[in-house]
């Protein structure tokens, strides 16, 4: 069953076409990665999937619901880890999770229970009362991940989940994502790290200037084009840098 299906997904910002009539499908239980240079349209595609903004045209369905129709119903089953850590600085660590749970209409008792489980899961259980500004970059990132899981999402969307993290924190986040994958959560992520894509993704879509260049498993891409995933990536993207 397809968790996400997009046909001719297009997004314009004024006269700039950020995403140009792309097609893709994301299957239940897989880890699907969007790769591509900055400005390729990865974040825009993910924002359309989590109903932050509607597509300019095209047919996009998540859980078989049109993203321009019942947004609240789709978003209830999605967890989002955005590129920027938009934690609520007016609230402490635990309150961030509890207040977030309220947006999903999760009763307080269940929210407290899930929150303490999740803080343990991301190794922040000693930090429940800490202020957001006192957390390290890695801790913030893990708290954002915990927050994205508060509603037990069937689909988790991660926009550059490990950008800016030190190797220890990065491996720690990968470890968490692998655990989620084993629990049958569908994961959609964007990344600039080929190692991350190879380690986590079942399939990747390589994007360049608003278009999907190819969609395949990292292993078959490497077999077809030769070299590492990074070689494949460099071969398939950045055409603008070579041809005027």
């Amino acid at each position: 069953m397809n968790i996400v299906s997009a046909k001719a997904l297009t997004k314009d910002y004024g006269s700039f076409r950020a995403v140009d009539a792309i097609d893709f499908e994301i299957v239940r239980g897989e880890v699907f990665g969007f790769l591509g240079p900055n400005g390729a349209g990865k974040t825009t595609v993910m924002r359309v999937i989590y109903c932050f903004m509607p597509p300019s045209s095209g047919d996009v369905r998540v859980f078989d619901i049109d993203v321009t129709q019942d947004l609240a119903k789709i978003k209830a089953k999605i967890g989002v880890m955005p590129q920027e850590d938009n934690l609520d600085p007016d609230l402490n660590v635990l309150e961030n999770l509890i207040v977030y749970a309220r947006y999903f209409d999760i009763p307080r008792r269940d929210a407290l229970h899930s929150a303490s489980e999740l803080l343990e899961f991301v190794e922040l259980d000693g930090k429940a009362k800490a202020k957001i500004e006192d957390l390290s970059g890695g801790m913030k990132r893990k708290l954002v991940l915990a927050r994205a899981l508060i509603n037990k999402p069937a689909l988790l969307i991660l926009d550059e989940p490990t950008t800016g993290l030190d190797p220890h924190s990065r491996h720690s986040v990968w470890d968490k994502l692998n655990q989620l994958k084993e629990k049958d959560t569908t994961l959609v992520l964007s990344t600039h790290y080929m190692e991350e894509a190879e380690k986590l993704c079942d399939r990747v879509a390589i994007m360049d200037r608003g278009k999907v260049v190819t969609i395949d498993a990292p292993s078959s891409l490497m077999r077809i084009h030769g070299g590492s995933l990074e070689d494949v990536y460099l071969k398939l993207t950045g055409a603008a840098l070579i041809t005027p």
């Binding site: 932050f52 119903k73 920027e84 938009n86 609520d88 609230l91 999903f104």
Partner: protein, 255 residues
């Protein structure tokens, strides 16, 4: 253009602001409380020595209901300009909220309702204080409390329209200096407008604070009937303005 918000989801946004407020209320409550009392003391007692009464009302009693109106207004516009702007841009709180079942219209409705709640909260506190000083003649003043919610919605709507169009946080200086300060001075709080050229009263008719001052003063004197026009004005304007913050904020946030 349709506004379609879900009241329960809008309440979740209201609740977020309320939760934050209850953590910090002592500091902000004190600040909002000191300023109106200073105005009342400086103008009422200071100026009151020279101006014994206006329209048969002792000067300090004349301005006291106006201070209820202005404090409720300032509480709302601070919240819905600086507060909303900071949540939207610097803190990215809105982006986080919009990734949950809360939709953009729920978010805007929740912010507007929170702004109106602050109007009620601060207006009521000042009401209690000036009543304690026996500056209010009639207990009918309590009827102004629900109207503080409506006026609060109007001020929240106006503030949010500005939030949606300003290029940066410094631009709010224009909003305060060119709009709010003149409105504060020329809405009949400190002197009746009929002593000025008629054009002033004509302009004031379009100012929500002018109507709120009329309502508070009429109720404080026990003349509820004198404020019927102002109440109707509120009912019309709150609805007329409503589409604009929704339409503009959608554009600003979703681009």
């Amino acid at each position: 253009m349709m506004i379609s918000f879900n009241l329960k989801r809008a309440f979740r946004v209201w609740q977020r602001n309320f939760t934050v407020y209850t953590k910090l209320y002592l500091s902000s409550l004190a600040l909002n409380f000191v300023e109106p009392i200073l105005y009342l003391a400086a103008m009422g007692l200071g100026l009151g020595i020279f101006i014994k009464e206006i329209n048969g009302v002792p000067y300090v009693n004349f301005i006291a209901p106006g201070i209820i109106a202005s404090s409720s207004m300032f509480a709302t516009i601070y919240e819905c300009t600086y507060g909303t702007y900071v949540r939207m841009t610097f803190q990215k709180t809105f982006d986080a909220i919009l990734a949950t079942p809360i939709n953009i219209d729920d978010l805007i409705a929740g912010e507007l309702m929170w702004g109106a709640t602050k109007s009620v909260l601060y207006g009521t506190i000042i009401m209690i204080v000036i009543s304690a000083f026996q500056l209010v003649n009639s207990s009918l003043i309590v009827l102004a409390i629900p109207l503080l919610f409506i006026s609060g919605l109007i001020f929240a709507e106006i503030s949010m329209i500005f939030v949606s169009i300003v290029p940066g946080i410094d631009s709010f200086n224009y909003f305060y200096t060119l709009l709010m300060t003149p409105m504060f001075l020329f809405s009949g709080i400190f002197f009746p407008l009929d002593s000025l050229p008629p054009i002033v009263a004509k302009i004031a008719f379009f100012m929500p604070l002018y109507h709120l001052v009329n309502i508070c003063r009429s109720f404080a004197l026990g003349h509820v009937n004198a404020a019927v026009q102002d109440i109707i004005w509120f009912g019309v304007v709150v609805i007329l303005l409503a589409p604009f913050p929704f339409r503009r904020m959608r554009k600003r946030i979703m681009k």
